[in-house]
């Protein structure tokens, strides 16, 4: 698999000269299989540039949403393949006990919040609730599981052959745990992340910031490292950077992590535009 980060920011897009290296776009990750199947993880503002890259091409696109918070769907209406009449697009999202995915997404993709209605998009669009069991997309195995974050939110594990990546951009596994980490079987997201080659994980807050935001659904950076260690991930991408964290601050955080002498995994800076192989 080839993985490209198109948006690494959390909560709110944060463009500007002070965020130019880590990026200001909100969550969006491109996953390409060895057969060139395209899976897109989340539709934050980063998806606009990805859409410009793939417009006019051929082939099905599968767009997997972790949840419907605004920073994960705001770019959806700006994804150019949605306006291509012959394009087959499958949009997957977490289930809700009350409303189907179309109804929930239409709250945003309709006036007055957006000029184009979801039902008027010209592409061949199919919406799906992510199933609880593993499913296949273009040779990639996909597993989704509810994780600890307000509202119905899933994380994903995507596998090709023996290699897997886990995508948990909004995740607070330490919530309510007296001594984190607890046992693996009692840790949110563990089964998704266990033994993965690559873990893309929420790293929104410093320890000090987290103390003021417990229960908001995001991780303090030390908890992200602890979770990666517990899961036995081989590489970690800290992701979903707080919009107030500029490049200088993220550099300092990165340096602090790298200075730790007990890193059990390789650290990859969560910078927009980064591509790596899994």
């Amino acid at each position: 698999m080839r993985v490209t980060l198109w948006g690494t920011r959390g909560s709110l897009a944060a463009p500007g000269p002070e965020t130019i290296r880590y990026g200001g776009n909100t969550s969006c990750v491109e996953v390409r299989s060895k057969d060139n199947a395209l899976v897109v993880l989340d539709a934050g503002t980063g998806i606009q540039r990805l859409g410009a890259r793939v417009r006019g091409g051929e082939g099905r696109i599968d767009l997997l949403l972790t949840h419907l918070h605004m920073d994960h769907i705001q770019g959806l209406g700006f994804f150019e393949p949605l306006y291509e009449p012959d394009r087959e697009i499958h949009l997957w999202g977490p289930p809700s006990p009350t409303l189907d995915l179309r109804t929930r997404l239409a709250r945003y993709l309709s006036p007055p919040l957006f000029p184009v209605r979801l039902r008027d998009l010209p592409c061949r669009l199919t919406l799906h609730n992510v199933p609880p069991e593993r499913f296949e997309i273009g040779g990639l195995g996909v597993e989704a599981e509810l994780v600890c974050h307000p509202g119905s939110t899933v994380g994903y594990r995507i596998s090709e052959g023996s290699r897997s990546l886990a995508y948990l951009p909004d995740h607070e596994p330490a919530l309510g745990v007296r001594e984190f980490p607890g046992q693996p079987e009692w840790t949110s997201g563990f089964s998704l992340a266990a033994g993965t080659e690559l873990l893309i994980h929420d790293a929104q807050y410093t320890t000090e910031e987290y103390q003021e935001r417990i229960g908001w659904g995001h991780s303090a950076i030390p908890d992200t490292l602890t979770f990666a260690r517990l899961a036995g991930a081989r590489r970690l991408v800290p992701f979903h950077h707080d919009p107030t964290h500029d490049d200088a601050m993220l550099d300092r955080i990165d340096s602090t992590i790298r200075a730790s002498d007990d890193l059990a995994f390789a650290l990859i800076a969560g910078r927009e535009g980064t591509t790596f192989e899994v």
């Binding site: 609880p132 593993r134 594990r157 309510g176 079987e185 089964s191």
Partner: protein, 133 residues
């Protein structure tokens, strides 16, 4: 997903975390009725720390705590609120006697409710109980 690394469902994880933070005794069972957690306030009524008992089947825990009805007769497992919550998918309440692992008999009131996840997934049941005067 559950078979990948046998992680508990997120609803059970959150329930356990909530129970750990509350001051009321809470008892958590999985869909088979097996005990998977009770919190510190429950430890005081059950007479043993959860770390010492660990997980056990419904048959084991229902005989271990020896539930007895208010009339003095042994309560069958199917009369216990947790069993009703699990198998009839509704809340249930009963007052009865138990014998804690510290050997002390206590009269408790117990209310149980099922945990049902999205898509109709049966996740287990929660029992809340307290010592009756």
């Amino acid at each position: 997903m559950g078979d990948l690394m046998s992680q508990k469902a997120i609803e059970l994880i959150l329930m356990r975390q909530l129970a750990s933070a509350l001051a009321m005794p809470i008892f958590l069972v999985d869909p088979s009725g097996s005990l998977i957690f009770y919190n510190e306030p429950a430890e005081q009524l059950l007479g043993s720390r959860y770390d010492e008992t660990g997980e056990m089947s419904m048959k084991e825990w229902s005989s271990l705590f020896a539930p007895i009805g208010e009339d003095g007769s042994t309560l069958p497992g199917e009369a216990l609120p947790l069993n009703i919550a699990l198998h009839k998918h509704r809340a249930a309440h009963l007052a009865f006697w138990i014998r804690g692992l510290d050997g002390v008999s206590r009269k408790i009131g117990a209310t149980a409710f099922p945990l049902e996840g999205q898509g109709g997934r049966q996740l287990g049941a929660v029992g809340i109980f307290w010592e009756e005067p």
